[in-house]
């Protein structure tokens, strides 16, 4: 047979590995800072600058860990494994370089723009439209390079890891494009194309599947490659991996609505989300067991080898998180966990345990290979393993505890039927847990720093192998599939077919959930008294989004006695029809704001935003002094109103022309009321006036009509 010689490139895997570890360290450090901010609000430094408040820092942390740390981790594995599995170098070096540098450029743009307050206000999709476009382009470059490689391969069969990479690529592309549909208002400002309930459904279809197809399936690809490599034995059952793959991608995409249980999302969509989430246990555990059973008869190695130790805990955490996920999607469990620290614990079992430990194991295995040497210190790596494990436990346990504690306190009534605790009492009682969690995070980060040292030392003792030579025969053109392998040859050996089928399989779930919510009118019963925001309120809402208030405050009251008693009438789908984007939030570090309008006077908000503890002693909210200096960006009113009308918000024709007059009139009203009633002197063009206008509007429309249900 015609033998061909070729070279595997190690440069890009090395670059991606360095980027992964670097951004991982940065992202985790930001997480530790954000964790301490919740216990010690002074660390927001908001007296000095607005850039580091929790509301802006937390999205940088989440984006850095998901897209920078895990993203670069995926690419490291892909650029190392795919050429070796297909016996061909990556298709195009230039595309590879564009991919690498483009992705790092996106990360820098993301970090800078988020800290500056440019955000779309949708969790894990906060980046503004120019960066969204850049992500799409770089993702296409990555796809081209991957498919170019697959199409020029010397191995007919696509190993299961590659299926996971293909499905991840196509699904992430679909999710990113659908969820990022936004109407640009200016450079770095846009509004989500969807509104209210529909926006929520699309967002959590995206949010859930970002976890599925960015944090899970590509890492399963890495597991199916690196775990057998490290254990030096093939995967336990290749047949099981086939079932794992198809059932996982078939079921995962449907489960998004479990993030919206008990909200104003239609009941049927919530039920679909729950049903599919429960079914997800089977493929997930199939995959976990496949990973763990791969080590059958090799557990003596696990005792010795730090790489395998990391893999075992990673796969176990995958199993724990994928058991916990379906449990959290049961309505009665979700009633406790939603908006609480339980969710935070759950995602960190996944992020620190599954993604973190799998990445560390991969790095401890890969870096010595790339530098043709042995790991500098196995002992140090084992220390990292124990420190990391301790860090995860110290992170997660306080969060579970805090979640239950706050649930019991929030839902407690006195015998007279009054709520037993104020919100601030609950905040005060969970602060010690926030401190413990922050210490857990710090311990985990210390382990990562040990790894950095260990890997740098490893690299220094060896010499980098830039390319590796290999030979293999070219793909035979006149190949005949063996008998009995019709299905097999139809899909597995045809990458484009695999791509299309994956897209169809993941597309069905999204379509079935979304089309009815968009087309069937009864899904969002309209409420006649709900009107569009005034220009001043719209500007105030944009400030609310800019400061990332949704990171701590929800705007969605669930129909529970203890929520209605605390916050007011439960939220209805029809209340959010003009909310581009929706701001329901996912965590209540602060109280729900869905009925905040009219609850307090303007002066309360004025004082509270300047010094939260003055109005609410013991509050951990940062102050926002910049809003008392900066003026409302009136120049943008015109294009904002125009954009809203384009998306169907019923502002009168040519309202743009007089919008700023209305804005000034309302602002003057608020400023003079503050002066007359509370002797507070503030110019009416300051941002705080707009924010007060918005806060006083939230949730009040429904009070204007006698029968709020339909």
């Amino acid at each position: 047979m015609n033998q061909q010689t070729f070279h595997y490139d190690n440069k890009l895997p090395k670059y991606f590995a360095i980027a992964c570890i670097f951004w991982g360290t940065v992202g985790m450090l930001l997480g530790v800072i954000a964790a301490f901010q919740l216990a010690f609000p002074v660390l927001n430094f908001s007296e000095f600058m607005p850039y580091l408040t929790f509301g802006r820092l937390r999205p940088v942390h989440t984006n850095a860990v998901i897209f920078a740390f895990v993203g670069n981790g995926i690419f490291t594995g892909v650029y190392y494994a795919i050429p070796r599995l297909l016996k061909t170098p990556m298709w195009n070096k230039t595309l590879g370089n564009i991919h690498f540098w483009g992705w790092q450029f996106i990360i820098v743009c993301a970090a800078v723009s988020l800290l500056m307050g440019f955000t779309t206000g949708k969790e894990y999709a906060e980046l503004e439209w120019p960066i969204d476009i850049l992500i799409t382009l770089i993702w296409v470059v990555f796809g081209l390079n991957m498919f170019g490689t697959i199409l020029t391969r010397r191995e007919r069969h696509l190993y299961v890891a590659i299926w996971f990479f293909i499905a991840s690529w196509v699904t992430v592309a679909m999710l990113h494009i659908v969820n990022s549909m936004e109407f640009p208002v200016s450079f770095m400002k846009s509004y989500s194309w969807y509104a209210g309930v529909q926006d929520a459904l699309v967002q959590w279809w995206y949010g859930h599947n970002a976890v599925a197809f960015f944090l899970t399936t590509p890492y399963l690809g890495l597991m199916y490659y690196f775990l057998p490599k490290a254990a030096d034995r093939p995967v336990y059952s290749y047949r099981l991996s086939i079932v794992h793959f198809w059932s996982l991608i078939f079921l995962y995409i449907w489960a998004g609505p479990h993030h919206l249980l008990y909200t104003a999302l239609p009941d049927w969509a919530q039920s679909v989300g729950t049903a599919f989430s429960i079914m997800l246990i089977l493929p997930s555990w199939g995959g976990m067991l496949n990973g763990l059973f791969t080590l059958r008869g090799a557990w003596d190695k696990v005792r010795e080898d730090p790489v395998l130790k990391f893999f075992v805990v990673a796969v176990t955490c995958y199993g724990m998180a994928t058991f916990e996920g379906p449990m959290l999607s049961l309505k009665n469990v979700n009633a406790i966990s939603h908006y609480s620290d339980w969710t935070i614990a759950h995602v960190h079992i996944g992020a620190l345990g599954w993604n973190g430990f799998l990445t560390f194991g991969m790095m401890y295995w890969l870096i010595p290979k790339l530098f043709n040497t042995k790991l500098y210190s196995r002992k140090l790596a084992s220390t990292h393993f124990w420190i990391g494990t301790l860090g995860i436990l110290l992170y997660a346990i306080p969060m579970y505890w805090s979640a239950f504690r706050s649930y019991f306190m929030m839902s407690a009534f006195t015998p007279e039927g009054q709520l037993q605790y104020e919100f601030i009492d609950v905040v005060q009682t969970v602060i010690p847990f926030y401190i413990m969690r922050a210490i857990g995070g710090t311990i985990y980060l210390t382990g990562v720093l040990l790894m950095c040292y260990n890997l740098i030392k490893t690299a220094k003792t060896g010499e980098f192998v830039a390319t590796e030579e290999a030979t293999a025969p070219a793909l035979a053109k006149d190949y005949k599939a063996p008998a009995n392998s019709i299905w097999h040859s139809l899909i597995e050996r045809k990458p484009i077919m695999l791509l299309i089928l994956s897209l169809v399989v993941v597309g069905i779930g999204g379509l079935v959930e979304m089309i009815p919510t968009f087309l069937v009118k009864e899904n969002i019963p309209s409420i006649a008294s709900v009107k569009p925001y005034t220009p001043l309120e719209l500007q105030g809402r944009d400030l609310y989004i800019k400061e990332g208030c949704y990171n701590c405050h929800s705007q969605m009251i669930r129909p529970f006695r203890y929520e209605v008693a605390r916050y007011g009438e439960y939220s209805k789908a029809g209340e959010f029809v003009y909310d581009h984007p929706f701001q329901w939030g996912s965590k209540r570090t602060g109280p729900d704001l869905a009925r905040i309008g009219g609850k307090y006077g303007d002066s309360w908000h004025f004082n509270h935003m300047l010094d939260p503890t003055s109005m609410s002693p013991g509050s951990i909210m940062p102050s926002y002094p910049a809003m008392y200096e900066d003026v409302i960006d009136k120049a943008s009113t015109n294009s904002k109103i125009h954009a809203m009308r384009q998306m169907g918000v019923p502002y009168p024709a040519n309202y743009e022309a007089i919008a700023n007059q209305d804005l000034e009139k309302q602002a003057n009203g608020i400023a003079s009321k503050l002066l007359i009633e509370n002797k507070i002197k503030i110019s009416s063009d300051k941002e705080i006036i707009a924010l007060i206008a918005y806060l006083q509007r939230i949730g009040t429309d429904i009070k204007l009509q006698p029968n709020p249900s339909k």
Binding site: D232, V243, F250, W268, A470, H488, A573
Partner: protein, 57 residues
């Protein structure tokens, strides 16, 4: 807000759950059939692919 309230407005609605049940059953049966149809030797070769990279054949 109950799904059934507007489901009843769709003509021939009872066919949809049957279609979806069939879709699911067919999907999983095809997958399982496919899985078992793969030749044992072939499986063995495929699952050893990760170890094939440095061999100069």
């Amino acid at each position: 807000m109950k799904f059934s309230t507007y489901l009843v407005h769709i003509t021939g609605v009872s066919i949809y759950p049957l279609i979806s049940l069939c879709l699911f059953v067919v999907f999983f049966f095809l997958m399982i059939y496919w899985m078992y149809s793969i030749d044992k030797k072939e499986i063995e070769r495929i699952q050893n692919l990760p170890f094939d990279d440095h061999k100069k054949i």
